[in-house]
Subunit: 206 residues, 2 copies
DNA sequence: TTGACAAAAATTGTTAACAAAACTTTACTC
DNA sequence: GAGTAAAGTTTTGTTAACAATTTTTGTCAA
């Protein structure tokens, strides 16, 4: 399972009804919610498609995360309790075992979930929801623009961030989160997809 | 017009269909979107109600805004162009005339919209959407917890913020935005509503 | 073969009827 | 009168049929 759908994939209502064994109403309801989260593109009278963010939208997502995440992580340095620490430690253990097993989609999922859990330990449900949405969109973007070489980011960066948090080193924690997000962004080739698409169009349009 | 609905107000589908002259489908669609934005509370089999945020949720909203807005406003200090400056100036003019006319709901609406426009000039559509959502929820909260005395915030704070932006004074701009948000929050009585409600319940339960 | 056009099929959007759940009223007992 | 139970009403959730739009297929002429 856990097969990802490529951007632009058409999500027909009938197919979704069959695969999930639910009525058309619930499918439409789900598609509407997904479109409000920007991971499905809902076109009037033409159907639903897996969103295909362009370079500008990708830039917006990373800019937003850079504006939001470092500050929150910094603020939890002083407030995190034993329970919070344990949650993050346990998660990193999960990530490590997943990496040993080499299950790529699971690694990506857990990698994103770490960011959500960092915000979650701040206790702010609203910010947690916002970051969860941004992380989901980041996954889409990494899948679309990510260069094939290796995993999306250095493996031990999460551990370093947690270390700074445990030391209560606010400055280090925020700096590491910024670096980490920048690393993910730098691993992308934001010109790639549009090149491919428009390139194909140009060739076929000769 | 422009009559606000009190929190906990029931939004029955039939009523909404009639008032807006649309089918039940579109009403349900709208309610689902509003609930995903946290301004409508959708209860299974019981209907839709105007959201009634509690003190914790109110705190989360202001905390989120304090984490997000100051940094963005700081970043636009260096990048804003003439068009952006003009948009913000024009808006402040709008606010002033509305204040002279004394149309309270309009004043509140414009006051919130200023924050959205500040983010909008940053060019990040995603952050703009996020802030718009937070501003909407802030309006709900101010309506619910706001003490009656005067408007929700000092009238000239927006002007001061714009002034700092025009000077390109990053430190001042971020500080002013923080202060401004804190002023709004301080103008609330987060214990009020719950006291009233639970107080009433206790009295009636004797 | 390619292009335009028309018919057919498939898909989405909407309406209306039906089912299920919650709320209100009524009737009855204590 | 207070409380409870049952019938009735209202409201929401779901299904199914219908309408409108898009996409595909097929045909014919250049």
């Amino acid at each position: 399972m856990e097969q990802r759908l490529a951007p632009k994939t058409k999500l027909s209502e009938a197919d979704l009804c069959e695969t999930f064994n639910v009525g058309r109403m619930k499918v439409r309801r789900a598609l509407l919610l997904l479109s409000s989260q920007g991971i499905v593109d809902l076109q009037s009278n033409r159907g639903a498609y897996v969103a295909c963010p362009d370079a500008k939208e990708a830039k917006d997502v990373f800019e937003a995360r850079l504006h939001i995440e470092p500050g929150i992580v910094g603020s939890i340095c002083g407030t995190i309790d034993d329970r919070g620490r344990q949650i993050l430690r346990d998660h990193i253990t999960l990530e490590k075992t997943a990496r040993l097993k080499g299950h790529r989609p699971e690694i990506i999922r857990l990698s994103g979930e770490f960011h959500v859990k960092m915000i979650a330990v701040s206790g702010n449900d609203l910010l947690t929801r916002i970051i969860r949405e941004l992380v989901t969109r980041t996954s889409l973007i990494v899948g679309l623009f990510g260069s094939g070489n290796g995993t999306s980011c250095r493996e031990d960066e999460h551990e370093e961030i947690l270390h700074a948090i445990e030391l209560g080193d606010k400055a280090a924690a925020t700096a590491l989160v910024k670096e980490h997000l920048n690393h993910i962004q730098e691993g992308l080739e934001l010109s790639k997809a549009t090149e491919v698409v428009s390139g194909l169009k140009n060739i076929l349009a000769v």
